[in-house]
């Protein structure tokens, strides 16, 4: 049986899709058979972040409505051969997703894959509810910012009351905190919530901290999951997080501001 992991946050724009792409690619790089499902029907973007937008023929709604076979809709990644994505539909609305349809897709994918990563849309409406409903584990993507932390807390409540595991009173969905867009220099100046504060407030185990980094935009510009950029802090932070997820003991990095020498301070050059 595959593990179903939802990447969620409540709030939009915090890095769910970036995380789904990076984390999924990271698992696949470790040889895990991994499939990413985009649940953001109507506003699909995972295909673009993954650089697979030109290969989309069928989507999840086509499969649910029986217009295409699951295998026809799956796009196999050419960079990492154990990775595939199931794109969302661009033209239909959220109501095209049904619980039964999603369940059938997940069951079928379970036979072929080790990990099924569900990239949730923002909000707590149908698409987001379906993305988390079948989850065994959840990665809560949070920015060190009040509205993001509040929404994460809300989503944690939803996970523990509205997921299938909660409804069937089984073992609870395993939660992981992933703090993204963390800026240690601003934290040091007291302008941004500290990692410890976010952890204390949300009180779930920390999977990783991804620093604010220019490489994330560069990666999305080119359609390359940021984890494939070995030079970037963000990519390395995602690699570390994948390691921790697989049970390795990896120390946290990028929590302190980079000390720049005088020359670099004078002539610019920001975080990679």
């Amino acid at each position: 049986m595959a593990e179903v992991i939802v990447v969620t946050s409540g709030k939009g724009g915090v890095g769910k899709t970036t995380t789904s792409a990076a984390f999924g690619t990271g698992l696949a790089q470790r040889g895990k058979r991994t499939v990413l499902i985009d649940f953001d029907v109507g506003l699909r973007n995972l295909d673009l972040i993954m650089g697979l937008e030109r290969r989309v023929v069928f989507d999840i709604v086509n499969v649910i409505q029986g217009e295409a076979k699951l295998n026809q809709a799956l796009i196999r990644d050419k960079r990492v051969d154990t990775l595939a994505i199931l794109p969302a539909s661009q033209t239909r609305d959220k109501d095209a997703l049904t619980k039964e349809g999603v369940q059938q897709i997940i069951e079928e994918l379970s036979r072929e894959f080790d990990y099924i990563i569900c990239d949730s849309p923002a909000g707590i409406e149908k698409g987001a509810m379906l993305a988390l409903y079948f989850a065994d584990q959840a990665i809560i993507v949070t920015n060190p910012e009040v509205s993001s932390v509040r929404d994460s807390d809300r989503i944690l409540g939803v996970l523990q009351s509205r997921s299938r595991r909660a409804e069937e009173k089984r073992e609870r969905v395993k939660e992981h905190l992933l703090v993204t867009r963390y800026d240690p220099a601003r934290v040091e100046r007291g302008e941004m919530l500290k990692l410890e504060d976010v952890q204390e407030i949300l009180a779930i185990p920390l999977l990783g901290v991804v620093p604010e980094s220019e490489s994330v935009l560069r990666a999305s510009n080119t359609g390359t999951p940021v984890i494939l950029d070995n030079e970037s802090n963000a990519g390395q932070a995602y690699k570390d997080a994948v390691g921790r997820f697989l049970g390795e003991d990896v120390p946290h990095r990028f929590l302190e501001p980079e000390r720049k020498g005088l020359l670099r301070r004078l002539f610019g050059g920001r975080a990679a």
Binding site: R189, L193, I201
Partner: protein, 96 residues
């Protein structure tokens, strides 16, 4: 003197992160309670107004309920405007 300011250290940016933490802790403490129980305020208001109305004639539209959620203490403020003697007499006459 203005030019003396040049020698002073630049004013440090305001450290607002602690305010963020404090506000979050307060709002989440309340939201977490509300999650398990449904919002009781509308019902509380209804029942209170019903009790008061048993003794005094009141206008249900002149009831204000305010809740101020604080860290250590919250206050629930209920303001019920009672009709003046004239209005009460008129009402009584109307109901006869």
């Amino acid at each position: 003197m203005r030019w003396l300011d040049l020698f002073r250290a630049r004013k440090p940016a305001q450290a607002s992160a602690s305010a963020a933490k404090e506000r979050l802790q307060i709002v989440l403490a309340h939201e977490r309670i509300g999650r398990t129980r449904e919002d009781f305020l509308p019902k509380l208001q209804q029942e209170l107004v019903a009790v008061v109305a048993r003794y005094v004639a009141i206008d249900p539209n002149k009831v204000a309920v305010n809740l101020d959620r604080g860290g250590d203490m919250s206050t629930l403020e209920i303001e019920i405007e009672l009709p003046g003697p004239q209005a009460a007499r008129l009402q009584a006459a109307a109901s006869r």
